[in-house]
C-alpha cells in the first residue's frame, strides 16, 4: 500500500466519508449514552423525564438490596457453572469431530451448530414446555432411560431452576463454540503432533503438550466471550419463566434486575447504576482471565 502522502486529495478524504456513518452513529448512540449512563447513575428518576440527584445512594441501595445480591449471586453461579461446562464440552465435541477422514464432518458440524440460529425467546418457550413435570419431554426421557420419577419440578423447584437453565444454554451454544475449536484444531501443526508421536508420546500426552498449547488463544477467547455473554443472560430465563423471576427469584439475573428497575419501577438512574456494576464486573473478569491465562500469542 502506498504512503498516505501519495494519495490524491479525493482519495485522502474518501476513508473518512466511508467511516462517517459509523463514527456519527457511535458518537450519538454510544459515546453520548455512555456519558449519560454515568451521569444517570447518580440520579433517581421517575420515568424518562423527572429526576433528582442522589449521589452514590443508588450503589449503596443496590448492595443493601437483598434482591440485587441474589441477582448478583445467581448471575455469578450461572456464569461460572455455564462456562466451566461449556468450554470442555465444546472442546471435547470438536476433538470428537476432528479426524482426518471423517466423511460426515460437515453434516455434524451444521447439525450441532443448528440450535444457535433459534432465538433465546423461542428456545425459552420450547423448553418451558419440555421441562414440564409429568408430561414434559425431559422427564419422559429421564424416566425411560433411568427410571426417574416423572415429577421432577424443573421450573417450580428453586433448586432445579439453575440446572434447567444451564442445560438449555448448553444445548444452544455448545455447537457454536465447537466451531471455534474446530477451526483452531485445523490450524494445529501436524508435524509437531507427528514428532511427538515418534518420540513415544501417547494420545493424552500429545493432547496435553502439543494440541492444547496451540489452541490456547482460541480457548481463552471462547472462555472470555462465554463469561461476557453469561453475565448478560436475560432473554432465555425471561421467556422460560413467562416474564417472571422464577420461583423464589431463582431466575433473577442482573439484566433482569436492570430491566425491572428501568421499565417497571421506572428508575433509569438505578438501572444505569446496575449497568455500571455489570460493566465493571465484566471488564474485571475479562481482564483477570486475560492476565492470568495470557492471550496465548505474542501478536494478538
Amino acid at each position: 500500500m502506498k504512503p498516505a502522502s501519495n494519495y490524491h486529495p479525493v482519495q485522502r478524504a474518501a476513508p473518512y466519508w466511508f467511516l462517517a456513518p459509523y463514527l456519527l452513529l457511535a458518537l450519538v448512540f454510544f459515546i453520548y449514552p455512555l456519558f449519560e449512563a454515568t451521569r444517570l447513575a447518580f440520579y433517581q428518576t421517575h420515568g424518562a423525564l423527572a429526576r433528582e440527584w442522589v449521589g452514590l445512594d443508588n450503589f449503596v441501595f443496590l448492595f443493601r438490596d437483598r434482591n440485587f445480591i441474589q441477582a448478583l449471586s445467581n448471575t455469578a453461579i450461572f456464569a461460572i457453572c455455564n462456562c466451566a461446562l461449556m468450554v470442555p464440552i465444546s472442546l471435547g465435541l470438536a476433538l470428537l469431530l476432528n479426524t482426518r477422514n471423517n466423511r460426515f464432518k460437515g453434516f455434524f458440524r451444521v447439525l450441532f451448530f443448528s440450535p444457535n440460529f433459534v432465538g433465546q425467546i423461542f428456545v425459552g418457550i420450547m423448553f418451558a414446555v419440555i421441562f414440564l413435570p409429568r408430561y414434559g419431554l425431559m422427564n419422559r426421557f429421564l424416566q425411560t432411560l433411568l427410571g426417574w420419577g416423572l415429577e421432577t419440578e424443573w421450573l417450580t423447584d428453586p433448586a432445579m431452576v439453575m440446572p434447567a437453565l444451564i442445560l438449555t444454554n448448553l444445548w444452544m451454544y455448545v455447537g457454536f463454540n465447537m466451531i471455534y475449536f474446530l477451526a483452531a484444531l485445523q490450524n494445529v501443526d501436524d508435524s509437531l503432533v507427528e514428532a511427538a508421536r515418534i518420540d513415544g508420546a501417547g494420545p493424552w500426552a500429545v493432547f496435553w503438550n502439543v494440541t492444547l498449547p496451540s489452541i490456547k488463544p482460541v480457548a481463552i477467547f471462547v472462555l472470555v466471550v462465554c463469561m461476557i455473554n453469561s453475565f448478560q443472560f436475560f432473554d432465555l430465563p425471561w421467556a422460560m419463566f413467562r416474564q417472571t423471576f422464577g420461583p423464589g427469584n431463582s431466575a433473577l439475573f442482573m439484566v433482569s434486575y436492570l430491566y425491572d428497575s428501568a421499565f417497571h419501577t421506572g428508575d433509569l438512574g438505578l438501572a444505569s447504576a446496575v449497568g455500571w456494576v455489570l460493566g465493571a464486573i465484566i471488564m474485571l473478569v475479562s481482564f483477570v482471565q486475560i492476565k492470568v491465562l495470557g492471550t496465548g500469542t505474542e501478536d494478538a
Partner: protein, 308 residues
C-alpha cells in the same frame, strides 16, 4: 427394560465385541465409539426440534399424551391445525382487530430493513479500514475494540431516555438507527476485504473509476460470501430480538412475533399448542435461510476470531 435400554445395550455390546475381536485394527473400535457418541449427541441436539414440529400439528387434547406423534390409527382425530386457527384468529386491539400475520410481517420488515442498513454501513466502514491508510486509523480501531468490550445493557436506560427525547418511542427508527453500524460488522468486512488485491483497485483508479465505484462495483462483489453471511447474522439477530422491540414499541399493530409469542405464553397458559405452533412458524424461515447459507455463515463467524 424398554426399547431405549435394549438399543443402548446393543450399541454397547457391539462396541465391546469390536474392541475384543478386532485386535489387529484397534482404530475400527475407536472410530465406532466416536460415531456412536456423535450420533447420540446429534439425536440430543435434534430431538427438541423434532418434538416441536410434532407438537405443532397435534390437537391440544393429545398434545401431552404422546411425546412425539400419535400412532397412525389415531391421526384422523389427533392431528390437526386447530392451534393455528387459534393463533391466527383476529384479536381485538386499540387499532382494530389484528391477526398474527401482522406480527410476522412486522418482523420480516424490521429484519430486512436492519439487514440492508447494517450491511451498507458496516461494509463501508470495513472498506475504509482495509483499503486506505489514513490519520486516526489506529485510534478508530482501538475505539471499536473498546466499544465491543462494554455490555450493551449498560446503554439501555440512557437510550430509552434518548428515544423518548427524540420522539422515537413506538417507532421502528428506535430499533433500526442506534444499531445501524456495529463494530463487529465493520471488523468482519475489514477481515474479508483485506484479501482483495490492491493492484485491482489501483488499476481501476488509473482507469478513472471513482472511489464509490471501486467500493460498490469492484470490492463488494468480491466479498459476496462474507456479505451473505453478514446479512444472515443481522437478519437472524433482528428476527430473534426481544428486549428492543419489547421496550420501544407499544402499539399492538407494530409489535414483532417474538414479543407477541412471549405474551401469548402468559395469555394461553396451559394451551401450549398455540404458542408452540407460533414458535415453530417463527423458527421455520430462519431454518431454511440457515441451511441455505450455512457454509458462508460458519466461515463468517470464525473469520474474525481465529487467527487473530
Amino acid at each position: 427394560m424398554n426399547l431405549l435400554h435394549v438399543t443402548l445395550l446393543a450399541v454397547l455390546v457391539f462396541g465391546f465385541v469390536l474392541l475384543v475381536v478386532d485386535r489387529r485394527r484397534p482404530r475400527l473400535a475407536g472410530s465406532y465409539v466416536r460415531y456412536v457418541l456423535l450420533a447420540l449427541i446429534a439425536v440430543a441436539t435434534l430431538t427438541p426440534f423434532v418434538w416441536l414440529a410434532c407438537a405443532a400439528v397435534k390437537e391440544s387434547n393429545v398434545l401431552m399424551k404422546y411425546v412425539l406423534l400419535p400412532p397412525i390409527s389415531e391421526w384422523g382425530e389427533a392431528l390437526g391445525l386447530t392451534s393455528y386457527r387459534k393463533l391466527f384468529a383476529p384479536r381485538a386491539s386499540l387499532h382494530g382487530p389484528i391477526q398474527f400475520w401482522q406480527y410476522l410481517l412486522n418482523s420480516v420488515f424490521l429484519a430486512s430493513a436492519a439487514t440492508i442498513i447494517q450491511t451498507l454501513f458496516c461494509s463501508m466502514g470495513g472498506y475504509a479500514l482495509s483499503k486506505y491508510r489514513f490519520a486516526g486509523q489506529r485510534a478508530v480501531m482501538l475505539f471499536m475494540i473498546g466499544s465491543m468490550t462494554l455490555p450493551g445493557m449498560l446503554l439501555l436506560a440512557p437510550l430509552y431516555k434518548m428515544m423518548v427525547g427524540f420522539g422515537w418511542m413506538d417507532s421502528y427508527l428506535a430499533l433500526l438507527i442506534p444499531g445501524a453500524a456495529s463494530a463487529f460488522g465493520i471488523f468482519l468486512f475489514r477481515q474479508a476485504m483485506i484479501s482483495v488485491p490492491d493492484s485491482l483497485l489501483e488499476a481501476a483508479r488509473i482507469d478513472g473509476a471513482s472511489e464509490l465505484f471501486i467500493y460498490w462495483r469492484i470490492t463488494m462483489p468480491l466479498v459476496r460470501p462474507m456479505t451473505a453471511a453478514f446479512c444472515l447474522i443481522v437478519f437472524m439477530g433482528q428476527w430473534n430480538a426481544f428486549i428492543g422491540p419489547q421496550i420501544f414499541l407499544h402499539s399492538g399493530y407494530k409489535l414483532t412475533a417474538p414479543v407477541m409469542l412471549s405474551q401469548y405464553m402468559m395469555q394461553f397458559g396451559e394451551d401450549y399448542g398455540v404458542f408452540l405452533s407460533g414458535t415453530f412458524l417463527c423458527i421455520l424461515p430462519i431454518a431454511v435461510l440457515f441451511l441455505a447459507l450455512q457454509r458462508e455463515f460458519i466461515a463468517g463467524l470464525t473469520s474474525g476470531a481465529v487467527k487473530g
